[in-house]
Each structure stands twice: as structure tokens, then as C-alpha cells.
């Protein structure tokens, strides 16, 4: 029976209107609701369902981030993960660093399946899963909307531009979750109590020997340009004239 590793990132909540800091050094996170990356909630839900079906015996949630990320990982434990690994770093983590870090954990934990969100809604990079599969030299099945495990293989329905694609990959493999894979459960309050006694391993990123040098430098954050106000036209003729003037007709 296999172990499933799940990436569990914390981001600014999907429903919060993002505001850029006045000095352009980032987005405002103080006093802002932080939640699990929605795709990671889906990834964890899928792992829990596989375990509940008897297809896995252990679900491990992994987070990479500052010391207060532990509270967030407790939510993953309350949702049902068996244990958590918190890779501690105060620095922002880019996809390649995340993938290299996950590879170290994969080597240590030897999971049969890694499920990650297809992307995180903060940087929308959509890279970590693919990079991990390449570094690990194992198959990947991204944008999953259905996952079935049997005979050492995962049969995954993928949401692709042309519709749905079904592929079969040998395990161990990396699966990334799309929106329609499942509806994550609510965390039950009694499970929050139980989660308090579940183990969380703390590992300093520096001790993993991961090259975490920033490959990309962020120079400035800015809000998108505001849409200019619409103009009212009197009739169709004026509309046509306005469009022609803008070179759109």
C-alpha cells in the first residue's frame, strides 16, 4: 500500500481583492484572509478519498514557507492527512526551488503518488508538478479531473484544450489536480482537536541541500491599468464612425 505526498500551499484567499502595496514591493497580505490554494485543497481531498477507498495507507501534506505556515499545515491535518512536513524558509519560493525541495522529500519518503495543485492562484506559474516529474524522472498526469488507481497504474482523465484526454501512467507518478476533480470537504471541528496531536516534521530548507538561489528577480509590482470609462453613442451611425476612427472597422 502506498503513501501519497500532497503539496499544500497557502495563498491570499480566492475571494479577496488583491491590492498592490503602495511602494510596489508586493501585494498586501496584512489583515488579509489567507487560505489553502484551492487546487491544493482538491489535491488533498483526492488523496484522502484514495486512502478512504483503501488504495493508500498514508497521506502526507507538505508546505514550504515561513514558520507560521505550521498553522496552515494543521488545517491539512484536520482535513485528514496523517502527518505533515514543513520545510521552513523565510524566502519566497519559486517553482524550480519548490520542485527541487519536493524531490528531496520524495527521495526520503518514497511515495507511490504525488498530487499537487495544477497551479497556485498567487503566481499562477503552473510549473512545479511538471518540473518535479522531470527531476524525478517519473511520469506526469497534469490537469486531472478524474483519477483511478489499479495494478500499479493511474488512469487519469485530463482537462485539455480540446476536451478530455484519458492517459494511463505507471506509478510512482506526479498528478496535478484541476478544478472539477472533486469538491473538498469541510474541516470538522473535532478533527481540529485530533490534528493537534498529529506529527509535523520541521525541516530547514537550508539543510536539504537545495539550490534555492533566486533564478527570477521580481523588480516591481503594479496593479493592472484601470479600464477607461465607456462612451455613449447616440446611434448606429455614430458607433460606426467611432469604431472607424479607432481603426477597428
Amino acid at each position: 500500500m502506498m503513501k501519497i505526498l500532497v503539496g499544500y500551499k497557502r495563498v491570499v484567499d480566492y475571494n479577496v481583492r488583491i491590492q498592490v502595496k503602495p511602494d510596489g514591493t508586493g501585494v498586501v497580505t496584512d489583515g488579509v484572509k489567507l487560505s489553502a490554494n484551492p487546487f491544493d485543497d482538491i489535491a488533498l481531498e483526492e488523496a484522502l478519498r484514495l486512502r478512504e477507498k483503501g488504495l493508500a495507507e498514508e497521506v502526507v501534506v507538505v508546505g514550504i514557507g515561513p514558520s507560521d505556515l505550521t498553522a496552515h499545515l494543521r488545517n491539512g491535518l484536520a482535513m485528514g492527512a496523517n502527518r505533515a512536513i514543513h520545510v521552513v524558509t523565510a524566502d519566497a519560493v519559486q517553482p524550480l526551488t519548490a520542485a527541487r525541495t519536493l524531490l528531496k522529500l520524495v527521495e526520503k519518503e518514497q511515495p507511490g503518488l504525488v498530487i499537487l495543485g495544477k497551479q497556485a492562484i498567487d503566481d499562477d506559474a503552473n510549473q512545479t508538478g511538471q518540473m518535479l516529474a522531470a527531476l524525478w524522472d517519473r511520469p506526469q498526469a497534469t490537469f486531472a479531473s478524474k483519477v483511478e488507481i489499479a495494478d500499479g497504474k493511474a488512469t487519469v482523465t485530463r482537462e485539455v484544450d480540446a476536451g478530455l484526454e484519458v492517459i494511463s501512467v505507471d506509478l510512482p507518478a506526479v498528478v496535478t489536480s484541476d478544478l472539477r476533480l472533486n469538491e473538498p470537504r469541510f474541516i470538522k471541528l473535532p478533527d481540529i482537536m485530533k490534528a493537534k496531536s498529529k506529527p509535523i516534521d520541521l525541516i530547514e530548507l537550508a539543510t536539504l541541500g537545495v539550490d534555492s538561489g533566486d533564478h527570477l528577480k521580481t523588480t516591481h509590482y503594479a496593479a493592472p491599468a484601470k479600464r477607461s470609462k465607456g462612451v455613449m453613442v447616440k446611434d448606429a451611425a455614430e458607433l460606426v464612425a467611432a469604431l472607424k476612427q479607432k481603426g477597428l472597422l
Binding site: V16, V32, A36, E183, F186, K188, L189, M193
Partner: protein
Amino acid sequence: MTDPRLADLQASLPNLRLLTEPGDLEHYGRDWTRRWTPAPLAIALPSSVEEVQEVMRWANRQGVAVVPSGGRTGLSGGAVAAQGELVLSLQRMNRALAFEAADRTLTVQAGMTLQQAHEAARGHGLIYPVDFAARGSCSIGGNVATNAGGIRVIRYGNTREWIAGLKVVAGNGELLELNRGLIKNSSGYDLRQLMIGSEGTLGIVVEATLKLAEPPPPSQVMLLALPHMDALMQVFAAFRARLSLQAFEFFTALALKHVLAHGAQRALDGDYPYYVVCEFDAADEAARDAALAAFEQAVEQGWVLDGAIAQSEAQAAALWRLREGITESLAPHRPYKNDISVRIGAVPAFLHEMQALLTQAYPQFEVVWFGHIGDGNLHINVLKPQALADAEFIAQCEQVTKLLAATLQRHGGSISAEHGIGLVKRPYLESTRSAAEIALMRGVRQVFDPHGILNPGKLF
């Protein structure tokens, strides 16, 4: 448009938008109650204060009754026009007029929806804190007319607390500017407050100056499952002692059944008799720990059996839907609605009596309980069995309402907590207000609207 009265109106106001098509008369002639057949004379949709004043002068001249109309989401028939009245809809007067940063007020036209007011306030980095499920349709004018309450009363109070000023066209067409945004104004009767909750019988609110507040810190939403009704007020006390509550709402298993059948997402695996949705400030880990401590205490005492907590705004909305979706999910069952309140201290004893009364009185009906238990406000909805005719069903319910009113009177409660009296609760006003009070109210009305033009037949 052959009616000479309407011809006179159109002559006085050639640009007034006036509707007389049967579909419009039906649409504008009723609210969310479905007990009366709409039969208004016509629908006027003025676009300015001057037009509203002119309509009122015309109504006095012609002796036509006027029903002020907002979003018509009312549940007491206060906006029903079934007697040949003119419906005066404020729908087109829905703009924000002025934001005063120093005063933290937003002046809006009365036809603006509550949701638009929320959005306008948020645009200035502030909130207008009155909130309830009908927000997308109900109007500020209607909120003022009923002193609307809702789901945040426990923290912020009713509409009454958030109105800094009102512009009102009185029954005789005179324009009144009441309180003008002043915080302190000790200069005689506060006519603004008299207008609030007057259900369109004293004047037509055309503009309101809303007080705005700082947005609350990030919050968390919990769903709690309770074993019996006695636990409700104990859980409330335990949570209120440890947390800064923004809302504390309850509903029964039967309410949950209907809202789930209407498409809401199940949050707990088991089935329980009673549920609470509560929202509280959770700016930091300490607040979250306090919430868990309250939950632990409640479980140890046997007051709570299970619970869930939202992990995201989306899940918070899903938990809220379990409570806010109830009214809509019950609508197909043509419920008979009771909206009652007692002092918080009187809730436990009152609940006991009510439960006994309703079990005995309605053995054959489904009775759905929910409401703002933290405010002492209960909504008790009796669902109509399909086979039963409307009139017979209402007649049976009215018998029970008499008993309910008597119980309320004993506990010093109110027959209408936040829906208003309208047409529906008019026969029971005496259970909540003394004869002397009602006589005074009639006297006040006489002063504002000497010809009884405004919303006659409502309230008393």
C-alpha cells in the same frame, strides 16, 4: 389610459413614466407574500424628488391612495397594492449621491439596492453593515420603512442605527430634510427615527444618508450541530463570552432538509436536530484558539455534537448558504411566516412554551424554525400541505397565531421583529402595542398624512 385621474397625473407630469399593462400591475402590485391579488391603478416610476412631490400632490387632489415601493421583497404585505392604489416605485432613483469622507457617510437615493449600497461603501474602503439574504433586490427605502435587521444585528444593530439623515416627501407632498447627517442634534423630536419603521405610512423616503463603518477584521464561519433547543442559548453564551461575534444564527434539521434539496452543499456527515451558523472576528491565531476552546467546552457540556469550520471564503459562503438559502428553499411551499422576538433573557422560557404550543397546534404541518437567535428573533415558517387550499391553510394558521400572540404578550415580545406589520400581522398589533400606543401612532399619522393617502390599511 382612459382613467381621468391618470390623465390628470400625466397632464401634471408629462415626463413621468407610468405603467398600466396587466403584467406590470401584477409585478409591481405585490411583494414576496402571495396572499393578495394585485390590483393597483397604475405604476408611477418617478426619476426625481420633484416628481415624487408632484405625484403626492396629485394623490391628495384626486384622493388616490399611494403605495411606496422598493424591491418588494417584504414578507408582510407592506408593499401590496390590491385596492386600486397608485404604486410609487423608487426603482429608478437608485444612484449614490454623495460620499463624505470626514463624516463617513454615503447619501443614496432610496431605490438603490442594499447590495449596491454595500458595493458603493466598499468602493470607499468602508462598509454599510446592515445585511441580509434579500440584499440583491431589496432597496434602502424599504430597509428604512421596516427598520430592517438581518444577520449582523448582533454586532451592528438594525437599520435605525445606521441612518444619519433622511430626505422624505410627507403625505401632503412637503419635502422634509431630517437630521441632515448630524451625529449630535438635541433639538426636539427626532422625526428621522419616527420615519424609520413607519412602513410607508408617514412619508416617502427619497434619499438616505447612511453611516459607514470600518471593515471588520478577517472572520471565520463555523457550523455547529446541537442536540436540543435548550443548548442554543448555552452555546450562544459560551461563544459570546470568548469571541467577538458578528453573527449567530440557528436553524432546524427540517430547514436543512429543504435547503439541501434546493442544492446547498452538505457540510457535516451526520444528521442532527439543530444547527448554528456563527461568524466571528478571527484576525489572529488567538481568536481561532478561542473559538476551538469554546467548541471544546460546548462539546464537554453536551451542548454541541459536531461542527465544521470554513477554510476559505468559498466555504464560508457555502456554510452561510445553509442558513441564508432557507427562505428561498421554502418559497415553493407557500409558508405562513411568523417573525417574532423576545428579550434575549426571555428566549429559553419562551422557546419551551412555543415548542409545546406548536407541536400541539400543528401536528399535521411541517414547521420550520430558524432565525437570529442571538437577537432573540425567531422565524417560524409553517409549510402548506399541497392538498390544502390556500384560504383554509391560512385560516388554520391564523388560529395558531392568536395563541402565539398571546404567548408573546406574556413574555413581552413582538409579533414582528424585522418584517414589519404590513397587512399580514395587522390583526395582532395589539399583542405588542398598547391601545394608548396605537392611538398615538394614529395621531402621528394624521399629522403627516391628513388625508390618509399613504399606504392605507397597512400597519393599523
